[in-house]
Amino acid sequence: MAGTLAEKVWDAHVVRRGTDGAPDLLYIDLHLVHEVTSPQAFEGLRLAGRPVRRPDLTLATEDHNTPTLDIDRPIADTTSRTQIETLRNNAAEFGVRIHSLGDADQGIVHQVGPQLGLTQPGLTVVCGDSHTSTHGAFGALAFGIGTSEVEHVLATQTLPLAPFKTMAITVNGQLPPGATSKDIILAIIAKIGTGGGQGYVLEYRGEAIRSLSMEARMTICNMSIEAGARAGMIAPDETTFAYLEGRPHAPEGADWDAAVEYWSTLRSDDDAVFDAEIVLEASDLEPFVTWGTNPGQGLPLSGSVPVPEQIADANERVAAERAIEYMGLTPGQPLREIKVDTVFIGSCTNGRIEDLRSVAKVVRGKKKADDVRVLVVPASARVRLQAEAEGLDQIFLDFGAEWRNAGCSMCLGMNPDQLAPGERSASTSNRNFEGRQGKGGRTHLVSPLVAAATAIRGTLSSYGDLATGEPVPDGSPLTDVAGLQTV
């Protein structure tokens, strides 16, 4: 029978079929753990006297609470410190591998899995974190779970799961210059809404998706959850294999050949039936920004803040009114005129090396706008080291930005990196909820290119607004910086 990519991966992991409406029992290949959602799960094991069934399929990192300054000193905030120390103790007690602050592979859990080559096509990947959908970019079935489920996976390496529906999202054609994968996903969420993906696994396909780099694909899958979806997936191809080859945990030799042969079968059959389908033309897209307080409240940068009276749907109108008020905006105000206080470049959405390179190329030799604070926070310590080896950190510092250590940082402000009440940011992260980046903080979600241009001009801007006459920078390494090396 013809199947979708998601169904193929699911079927390959069924330990036991549920009968009479009971869920299937699914095997989990990779379980990622961080300090916030795991403490009670480990405690539950301890109380029941159960071991971790497969420590060798489990990996822990510290990310949500880690400070991005003074990482060699004890963590000042006691709640943060307790959570991190608890994770360290649990990892030691249960034999789980952990990458702690100060380790090259410490960082946001959704960067660490891919960079180590642990995230591979066809796997089931779970983590007590909604943005686990990121790993779907490799053709893995990857989704976030709750703390009880974390305990369940630790104890059994399986999860009882009810089947989901499938949605195909086809993006045809090629992106125009200045638009990125971030703009694709913001446009998709604006189109289907924050609940539009509920109950579905989204599969992104089409020419525009195929021509994206692995990191750009991760950005898209990362934000699937913002459309309410269970997971997002992209079928693996040469780009995927090239990213994986040579990574520490990628298969080698004959194993590599066997793996690639299998991975190549992981695509939706031509006659596979999806429960829903959506088609987008990439050439219609332009840089997108959010104006409101959920990721679905986004518009092309050339647009204006909506005028609530013109919104037909009553619920949406009320939501827009509330969002405009919280965001301190005026209906009808052109988005390009919005002044920001802070630019945050980082997170599991856009804190990878390609993101940092494209930002560095834009800001190189320039100075940030006065009064704007610019925070650059790499997604992992290794991304940071790579950036430093490529000389990017110096470019950022010369620009007037702060160059920080790795972690979630201002994406959710669990550490000291927060917005002050009323402060406005252009952020490359994934959530613009009220207070997400600090109590009373106002967030505009943007791509790294828009973030860079905004940092220069002080108002929401696209690369084109800089009128450099140069082609739009991509995520390839800078070739003319001294000391270029791979870490």
Partner: protein, 220 residues
């Protein structure tokens, strides 16, 4: 999870309806990293009141809570069940429960037994007339015995079976451990494992280059 067939313990009359999870355990306690020791958080807002039922000697050691209708509404926090269990409660009797609370209870070995409201009233009277009266809850027979009153209660078959067998979700899955092991035996050897750890060439980690922390234009 311990097997549950019958339980006898002091009944505690909680004459309130709509006791939501915020009243069972306020949100401030959710920051903890432990899963036990929540007994101090149970009904935290009411515990300061000397008149509150759990502050009266006769009821202090209670293990069967007799509550008003719609117990456990509100958020899905499992902490509500942990707090009740940590205090020592084994059973909650009420005429109606919130679905999520009932589900969470079943998973954690706390019996949420549904009685007719008039039976609840009857039991309240007995407990208030003779504080410290014990209640016997018989899960097998689905009956509650309080003094000379015997009344039936409802609990769904699946939850009852799980409680009587002492099976939590994980315990249930582990009944199929042979199937899990068989699945594992068939997994391709090239599938990735986190152990033994493989690393990229080691690098010395220092803090990122020193930065001057700029403060942006922070509105007053």
């Amino acid at each position: 999870m311990e097997k549950f067939t019958q339980h006898t313990g002091v009944g505690v009359p909680l004459r309130r309806s709509n006791v939501d999870t915020d009243q069972i355990i306020p949100a401030v306690y959710l920051k903890r990293v432990t899963r036990t020791g929540f007994e101090d958080a149970l009904f935290a807002a009411w515990r300061g009141d000397p008149e509150f039922v759990l502050n009266q000697d006769a009821y202090r050691s209670g293990s069967v809570l007799v509550a008003g209708p719609d117990f456990g509404t509100g958020s899905s926090r499992e902490h509500a069940v942990w707090a009740l269990k940590d205090y020592g409660f084994k059973v909650v009797l009420a005429s109606r429960f919130a679905d999520i609370f009932r589900g969470n209870s079943g998973k954690q070995g706390l019996l949420a037994a549904q009685l007719a409201q008039e039976d609840i009233e009857l039991i309240w009277k007995i407990l208030e007339t003779r504080p410290g009266t014990e209640i016997t809850v018989d899960l097998e027979a689905r009956t509650v015995l309080c003094d000379d009153v015997v009344v039936p209660f409802q609990v769904d078959d699946y939850t009852r079976w799980r409680l009587m067998e002492g099976l939590d979700d994980i315990g249930l899955t582990l009944q199929h451990v042979d199937e899990i092991a068989a699945f594992e035996a068939n997994r391709e050897s090239w599938r990735p494992a986190t152990l033994p750890a493989k690393h990229l060439p080691p690098v010395e980690i220092k803090a990122a280059r020193p930065v001057e922390v700029a403060i942006g234009r922070r509105p007053a």
